[in-house]
């Protein structure tokens, strides 16, 4: 009986090194100006999946990502690092999804895979920072969830024991499979790509990518099925259209503000109660905190 692990990953704009053109005039993220990267905590999740795979015989890892065709890049990246295969869930209908619509879409894709023992994902993505998608997927799949995972303390084919990194300490919990785990950034960093896997899988391609390049890959996929990156649309995952995309997203953005810090110079404060008190009052008055 094989053990199936699914890792949920997201391709995100690299918000860690933002330049001047990171935001558009209207205050939304200028995705074109930022390099697209593998969401950092999803990489921690992939590493945890790989560690578990190393310990359980006959385990396999599938990576699911939802996004435009170019998201196939992170599927390749995952495979270079040791994942077995991956799926891009891509459809115009899912554009503009909030966390509710996203978790619905992803849970439908996970269901489509049949029996899944373990779902792993990063705690949150660096573009939205909501930390809601993982827990919502667990709810929709009706499986237990362990959030903020830092380390696998023990694992067997039946259950897993996890160390959680919480604000005020750590907690060790155990769950039977199936379950979903969201992984914290303090967990082990993901292993690097393996040279042979890169050479073997670098030609892996999805249908949309092939269409964009104008190449016929049917022969390649026949000869080397492992070079096909699956692409699933809303129909394939049997999704209810009304729950997808903008229409399926109750979250409405009321206003976006581009905050530019005007004050450039620094002030020196002594480590005294008086100075700290003054600083707090200033920050509250400026509505920076409080």
């Amino acid at each position: 009986m094989s053990f199936k692990i699914v890792v949920l990953a997201k391709q995100v704009p690299d918000t860690r090194n933002v330049g001047k053109d990171a935001m558009k005039e209207d205050g939304t993220v200028n995705r074109a100006a930022l390099p697209a990267i593998f969401n950092p905590e999803d990489l921690n999740a992939l590493e945890m999946a790989l560690e578990i795979k190393d310990k359980i015989t006959d385990a396999s890892i599938s990576v699911i990502t939802m996004g435009p065709a170019r998201a196939a890049e992170i599927i390749r990246d995952s495979i270079y690092r040791g994942a077995d295969n991956g799926i891009v869930v891509s459809d115009r209908k899912v554009a503009g999804s909030d966390t509710l619509a996203t978790s619905y879409t992803i849970s439908q894709a996970v269901r489509k895979l049949g029996k899944v023992d373990l779902v792993l994902c990063g705690r949150q993505a660096i573009d939205g920072d909501t930390a809601q998608v993982g827990p919502q997927v667990a709810e929709k799949l009706e499986i237990p969830q362990i959030t903020y995972a830092e380390e696998v303390i023990g694992v067997s084919a039946q259950s897993i024991r996890i160390k959680r990194r919480l604000e005020r300490g750590i907690e060790v919990v155990e769950s039977a499979f199936p379950c979903l785990i969201t992984v914290h950034g303090s967990a082990a960093a993901c292993r690097f790509s393996n040279a042979k896997r890169v050479m073997k899988y670098k030609h892996a391609i999805s249908a949309s990518e092939a269409a964009e390049k104008g190449v016929d890959v049917s022969k390649l996929w026949d000869e080397k099925p492992y070079l096909k990156i699956e692409e699933w649309n809303a129909d394939f995952i049997e999704a209810d259209d009304s729950r997808l995309g903008l229409g399926g997203s109750p979250t409405k953005v009321k206003k976006i503000e581009n905050v530019v810090l005007a004050q450039k110079e620094s002030i020196n404060l002594s480590p005294s109660d008086e100075d700290m008190d003054g600083l707090m009052k200033e920050l509250i008055a400026a509505h920076i905190i409080g």
Partner: protein, 574 residues
Amino acid sequence: MANFYTDNDKLRFHLRHELMEDIIRLKEKDYADYGKFDYAPQNFEDAIDSYDKVLEIVGEITGEVLAPNAEDVDKEGPQVIDNAIVYAEGTKRNHEALTNAGLYGMSLPRQYGGLNFSYVPYVMAAEIVSRGDCGFSNIWGLQDCAETIYEFGSDEIKNEYLPRINKGATCSMDLTEPDAGSDLQAVELKATFDEKNDCWRLNGVKRFITNGDADIKLVLARSEEGTSDARGLSYFVYDRTNKAVTVRRIENKLGIKGSPTAELVFNNAPAKLVGDRKLGLIKYVMTLMNGARLGVGAQSVGLAEAAYREAVKYAHEREQFGKAIKDFPQVYEMLANMRAKIDAIRTLLYETARAVDMTKTLDALSKDKYRQFSQEERQTLKKYQRLADMLTPLVKLFSSEYANQVCYDTIQVYGGSGFMKDYPVERMYRDARILTIYEGTSQLQVVAAIRGIVSGTYLARIKEYELMAVKPEYQSLKAFLIDLRERFEAMVEKANALGTTSEGYDFNARRLVEAAGYLIMCNLLLIDANKDDMFANSAEIMAKYAQAEIEKSSTYINNFDTAILDKYKTAFAQ
């Protein structure tokens, strides 16, 4: 996200050299592995793309793991526990990351789990690794031992040892002994054949052995009783799992502290003969040594690059007298010279690596029973073999000396701060110091290279470079170098008048060898600049530098009188 490959266009430039197409086609035997191994390339474009992608992994691991670990590794160093070496924590993590990424056995054939890369990308990887941690590059670079096993070992030995390399087995080459350093003919470690167990037994002591407690050891030992010269030495492979070698101590060194240097005692250690008896030093070690010398070249270029980048960054940030110190002539001269020297040794390194690559691949083809080796191929092999032999001592000499100069100047740019442990440059300075010493001192490289001056092979090669056409904007530089070459010829002629076997000639050997080296590097830089303007400044700067150096040596030789040698010999009398 530091990546020491993708951030270095001047390194990547050398992967695009036109000879790479021939090299890879030969190495891949016309892409015969395609279809047999799922990671084998289909054609040149596919292969070079794989090289690029794999070097990107090397660059990423070096930038993200090796470089950040380097400081702690330098402080912590390895230890001897229960007669065995335990690496520093950072060293273990470096090794693990590179092993998991499958970056050991890069040039080994696929049947042994290797990547079957040609030599050039392997040298590039060595350069990158050294930029992250000079000392660690020894541990990684000793995978070169696998090459020796592959070239000269029996099938039995190959099948036993080679598949372990890609899985992370470490290697060492055990040559030096307390009384056999530069003079390896004096090796005394005894090898006797044990009839009962059908194996060789090694007994004796080895000293200064880099990575001395490695999983797989290649050992030079005296197999012929009663002999005292090179002809009595053979080469053996020893497997660490036999536990018959004890680590007596590890040295406390000035630099490359993460790389353990051990004194070893062989206690009746079982070993297998590699290749034929009596050819240990004469053939096998010499081959290994040439590879090791090029390895030090790569290590030197990587370290120099690391130091230079620190210097440039600091010179931009540090302000004195109201401006960044990079704007002062004495500082920007240092920085530009560092840049030019690195571009020069790197182009020399890859020119040599390509020659070695052609030699290795053609030599392998010549041994292929199922393939006709053409007369033309034999000629090509000879040509590149000569070129490789001729350039290797120059690479070792110049790159190691320049790495030291660059690290020295980097500390100078930093001023007092550079002398402090707060910055990584003092470590780099210490790490650099061994480079001109091990795998043959600079003085020994001069001894190896002077033959090329006497025979005129360097001169011939320089003239070959001069035949290459350049764009109009580089014509004046070309003429300048031709003029410089004529001065070099006059200088050689003057020295020849002393008699090429005279002590006076030996005394001036380094001046002659260096002059040839400057001309070769300057011509290579001109060729590079002609292809890509990013080398234009360095080509000009190096030409001026070479001119001044050649003038200096030329003046010395023109005014040299053999009678002065006595003064030199008695000047330091005790």
